[in-house]
Structure formats: structure tokens, C-alpha cells
Symmetry: C2
Subunit: 356 residues, 2 copies
């Protein structure tokens, strides 16, 4: 697969972002949702910030208190044996590798605007900031679906009771309406199709079941975007392939002659995140037509391999212009980058199964 990574990559780094508090530092500006508005390309960045720490014996975890509307800082001793601090993203209970107690940073959503899609101006204030009981650990990885003149923005809402997916909407990128949590925990990586199919809205989602099953992609339907049901399992992990650890939807599905094209992320069991594609039927998105044997994009550039959590390319949005798919993607849980792919090339790769 031919890929054209922008010379400007990474197009946004944490150094470009002024922290929203003086006692915090920005450690990530990544996994942005993407939209077009008033002739500009918007990126809704996930900005991750953490309390500045000058004492390496103390690990801090920021938590938003919805009752007081303030951030609180949990302080843990780095040699507290009840905890496992080996994952830079989370603080786990010792001996419980599949779950976490706290996150080491607080994520919120911040807007960046561009005329050319390569050079972005980052707004000085958060666009959506945690504000509810279900968001005390932060909000993450937004996707944006435009339907008519309304932009539906949905993101992971994390708190001590779980990680689910919540929905807001805006028409003007100033006033935002909250619509509640649309997918209950544990769920992430929701993608709402940009139009109704045979009278129904559809979404991809990615439950994380505990007792049985894996982090895989499901399909749901709705008649109002707020309430969802008729859940169906769409695609699963593929042992021995690039996506044998976890998968989840990436960009909003792209309508093509051949079907709805979804750019999704797949991680291997050793946490290497790549991007691939799955094609589903135009009339019945529960029918899978084809799926990438090999990744369309994998971590190769230095900024993709090295960072806060390295070896990650993770897209939450793309802009399509003719045959050009401008896939914006987070790199190494740190920065943003963009790659151009050929739409026809992606489709061809799905059918020839020769993607390298």
C-alpha cells in the first residue's frame, strides 16, 4: 500500500499545546476526531495533561470531582506495593494486569483549526472538559459524524464506575448539547455512520467484555442516535495476524461503490497498533465483504515508534477528497500525524489481499 506521510509530521505535538493549568504539563495531543467546517479542517484533539511532579517517589493521578467541579490530585508512593506503576498510562492494582485503579493523566478535548490540513492553530481553552460523574477520569478519543448541519461528537467517558461512550452535538462549534452516555461500560471506539441505511442509523462500537469474549467490533442500530439496540457481533480478532489483540473502529465509515469502508485499528497481543480496513455491505452493514490481510499503515516513522506509549498509529478521523483519503492519526499516544492513502488503492488491497 502506497502511503504519503506529510513532511510536517507530527503535525501537532504536546510542545505545541499550552497546558490548561500552570501546575500541569501536556503529555499528549493525539487521537483527534476530524471535521470540516466553514472551509477549515478541525481537529478535536484528545489532550492529556498530568500534574507536574518534581518528586519521583510520588506518583500523582488527577481526578475530576463533579460535585465540587474541581480537579483533585491523588498522591501515591512509587514504592507502594499495592500498586503496579509499570504502564505509563495507568496505575494498576498489583497482580491485576487487565484492570486499572487510576489514570496517570486527565484527558479532555481541545480544538485545532487549519486551512490546509497541515498547519493547525490550537485554541487556547478546552473545548469539552470533564464535567460529570461519568467523566471523573477524563474524556478521550473523540469521533465526529456530520449529519446535515449538525456535528455529532462522541467520546469515551472514563470514571471509577467504568468507561462508556457519551454523545454531544454542535452546529456552530461553540454551543454544545449533551445527550448522555449512549453506550454503557465497557465500551469505546464508537463510530456513527453518516447517513441512515434503510431508515435506520447504524454505529460500530467496541465492547470490552470480562467473563467471555474479546475487545471486538460490534454493530448497533438506532432511530434517533440517542438510543441503540439490535447489537450484532461484526468482526473479531484474528489469531496470528496483526489484529489478534484488540480491534476497534477508527474513522467514520466512508461510503464507496463497493460498500461502507471502515478504517479500523488493530493491536497485536504485544500492543503494536496498526490501521487496516473492513468493508461492509451498503444496504446491510452487518454483512462483512472484505477485510485487510495486512495493515494499511503500521508504526514505522520515528514519531510512531517512539513516544509516551510507542508503536501506535490510531486514527479517529479522515477527510476524503476524490480518491485521496487524508487519514489523521494519533502516534505513540503522544502527537498527531496525517497520511494520504488512495481510496481505490485501499479497496483494491481488500480484494487482492496484497497490501504491502
Amino acid at each position: 500500500m502506497k502511503t504519503y506521510r506529510y513532511e510536517e509530521n507530527p503535525i501537532i505535538t504536546p510542545e505545541d499545546v499550552v497546558p490548561h493549568r500552570e501546575d500541569f504539563e501536556v503529555i499528549g495531543a493525539f487521537n483527534a476526531g476530524v471535521a470540516e467546517y466553514n472551509g477549515e479542517i478541525l481537529m478535536l484533539l484528545r489532550v492529556a495533561e498530568r500534574p507536574i511532579s518534581d518528586d519521583p517517589s510520588i506518583v500523582k493521578a488527577p481526578i475530576f470531582n463533579a460535585k465540587t467541579n474541581k480537579l483533585e490530585i491523588i498522591r501515591l508512593s512509587a514504592d507502594d506495593e499495592r500498586y503496579d506503576f509499570t504502564d505509563p498510562r495507568t496505575i494498576r492494582y498489583a497482580g491485576e494486569p487487565d484492570s486499572f485503579a487510576y489514570l496517570t493523566s486527565l484527558s479532555y478535548l481541545r480544538l485545532a483549526r487549519s486551512k490546509d490540513g497541515r498547519h493547525f492553530h490550537i485554541e487556547p481553552d478546552p473545548f469539552i472538559y470533564p464535567s460529570r460523574d461519568l467523566e471523573t477520569y477524563g474524556i478521550e478519543d473523540p469521533r465526529i459524524t456530520q449529519i446535515g448541519d449538525t456535528y455529532y461528537i462522541y467520546y469515551s467517558a472514563a470514571s471509577s464506575v467504568g468507561v462508556g461512550e457519551s454523545l454531544v452535538s454542535t452546529k456552530n462549534w461553540q454551543n454544545v448539547t449533551y445527550h448522555g452516555m449512549i453506550f454503557a461500560p465497557e465500551n469505546k471506539d464508537v463510530l456513527i455512520f453518516p447517513e441512515k441505511i434503510n431508515g435506520k442509523y447504524y454505529a460500530l462500537h467496541r465492547p470490552v467484555p470480562k467473563s467471555v469474549g474479546s475487545p471486538e467490533i460490534w454493530l448497533a442500530e438506532s432511530d434517533n442516535l440517542l438510543y441503540w439496540g439490535n447489537h450484532k457481533h461484526l468482526i473479531g480478532l484474528r489469531p496470528g495476524k496483526w489484529d489478534d489483540g484488540r480491534i476497534g473502529g477508527g474513522a467514520v465509515p466512508i461510503k464507496t461503490d463497493k460498500g461502507w469502508l471502515e478504517l479500523y485499528h488493530g493491536a497485536s497481543t504485544d500492543h503494536r497498533y496498526c490501521m487496516g480496513a473492513v468493508l461492509v455491505d451498503l444496504e446491510d452493514p452487518s454483512k462483512v465483504i472484505a477485510r485487510s490481510e495486512f495493515p494499511l499503515l503500521e508504526p514505522e516513522a520515528d514519531y510512531e515508534v517512539n513516544g509516551f506509549f510507542g508503536n501506535v498509529v490510531f486514527s479517529c478521523g479522515a477527510i476524503v477528497e476524490g480518491d485521496v483519503v487524508k487519514m489523521y492519526y494519533g502516534v505513540a499516544d503522544t502527537s498527531m500525524a496525517c497520511v494520504e492513502l488512495s481510496l481505490q488503492g485501499i479497496l483494491d488491497s481488500l480484494f487482492t489481499m496484497k497490501t504491502i
Copy 2:
């Protein structure tokens, strides 16, 4: 709390149920949903059957194949070190106590009818049998909400991709319409309120998140019973109390002057299942008014303490006649029993906090 357990308890045992196949044995007839129809009390039993095994060195797991419409039997060697056979209900991967690979029995739903609520006639055939990809490991723990002349039956649907909650409906207890999976994995213990509240349907549900959070009770809303959203966390575990391990809704919420009364189950961290109550606001079921400090019912009778999985009382339905709450409940994952409680007594117990 004064309790009147029926002299006939257990009112149905596995010995009362003829297996649906000659090569299978019934190991459980429990956790029944309850309804009233044509002057009779119906119990929709969860019947668990397993392949008869005469070789203790082989552990068998039944799986429904939705493509061939046949049951298949997985055979595992009892000394296969990849597996952990210590839980009689499940076959786990060794070293992974929070998840399972297979179930040791296949559950389906079977109807029992009674004139007096104490003596039941069990229908000879399954009423709802696994029939779909999402039901290959069986269907479990039905609840029944009557709205008008329609009975909405919802149950846990288990398969290798997860355990979610699916919905069917019937008007005559003969023809059944399937409405799909209404709560995606991992979810169980769904209860649909029996009427709209301020124009919306409400349900309790019990997600099981993996990364963060516990098996706790959430609230969702709907306008058509098929699609659900606006998920809110309702009540959580209470460390050190009887419900500090896992909780989930039990019977369909009962409308009282004081609020909607939900009889729910709570298990301690050592898997002792009791029944208690939570009262939520009549107009806004997201507002919790009161909750049992102590169980209303706990495993004490021999048939509650001993069985396939002992120390369990687990209700999926109750009939209310005046002040009398006839709470039907599964015991020890084996049989069915019934206890009568005073509705006023339950409400009083919630406010005085003296429930023993």
C-alpha cells in the same frame, strides 16, 4: 424481616424436569421469570442440562451450533493443565479466574404453569431454546415485564463473543417474536419497568466492565423498548456489607406510594447471594431513595445452602397481591422456591434500617 417460605419448597427441582435429550441430564431448574396469564402463574424456568458423562476423566461442554442448528459436545481431559475445572459452572483457562472458556451446561427456557403458585406443571418441551450465533453457550435468567397484553421476555444470551441481554415478546405464550440483543456484552440482569415514566421506558441493567468498575446496577431509557441509551450509574457495591461483591436487579420494579421498589440480588466477595431492596423515585428513577442495610432474604434453608452452587437465593420475578409479595427465587443454582414478604414490611425496613 418476617419471611414465609412455602412448605412445598423447593417447588421445582431438577428431578421434576425431563431432559430435552436422552443423553442429557437436568442439573438445574432455577432463576425463573414470573408472569400471570389466563388465571395462572407462569414460571419461565432456566433449565440447565449437561451431557451425561460416565467417564470422570473427560469434562464435556455443550455448545449450540447456529449454522447446523445442532448441539455439539466439546470434550476436554480433566487433567488438561490449560484449564481450571474447579468452578462447577464453568471451564476456565488456568490462571484466569475472572473469565471462562466454556460453560459446563447448556441453559434454555422452559415454561411451568400453576393455579395456586405452589404446584407447577412443567411443559414437556423447551419454550425458548438457543437458536442464534449470540446464544451458542445458552440462554439464562429470564425476566418478564407485562405491558398491556404483551409480555416482554428478556434473558442473558451467552456465546464465545460475550454475554448480552436479548429481548423477545409474546401475547399468548405460544408465538414468540425476537427483537434482537438490547444490551451489548457484557450485560445481565436487565429489568424493564412496567410502564412509561414521563413518556419514557426505563430499564435497570448490570454491565460487567473489565478495565475499571464493578458489576453494578445502571439505569437506561428508551422510547420503544428496543433501543436504549442515556445510561446512568444507579447503585454500586458497598464494601464490608452483604452486597460487596456483585449486584444486579432481580424482580420487575414494583410501584408503591413511596417509589419504585426493586428487589435485587447482592453477592458478597465470597459468592454468597442474598436478596435486598432499593427504592427509587416514582418520577425520576435515577434518584435513589433508600436501600437495604441488611438482606431481606439470605441463604438459610438447606435447599438454599446446598446444591450445584450453594449459598444462593436469586430472584428473577415476584407476584404482588395487596401487601403480599410472592418472591419466586432460584436456590443454589439448582431449584426454585418461593417466599412471601410483606410489602409494607419491606418499605419499613428500608426506612428504619432494621431488617433482621
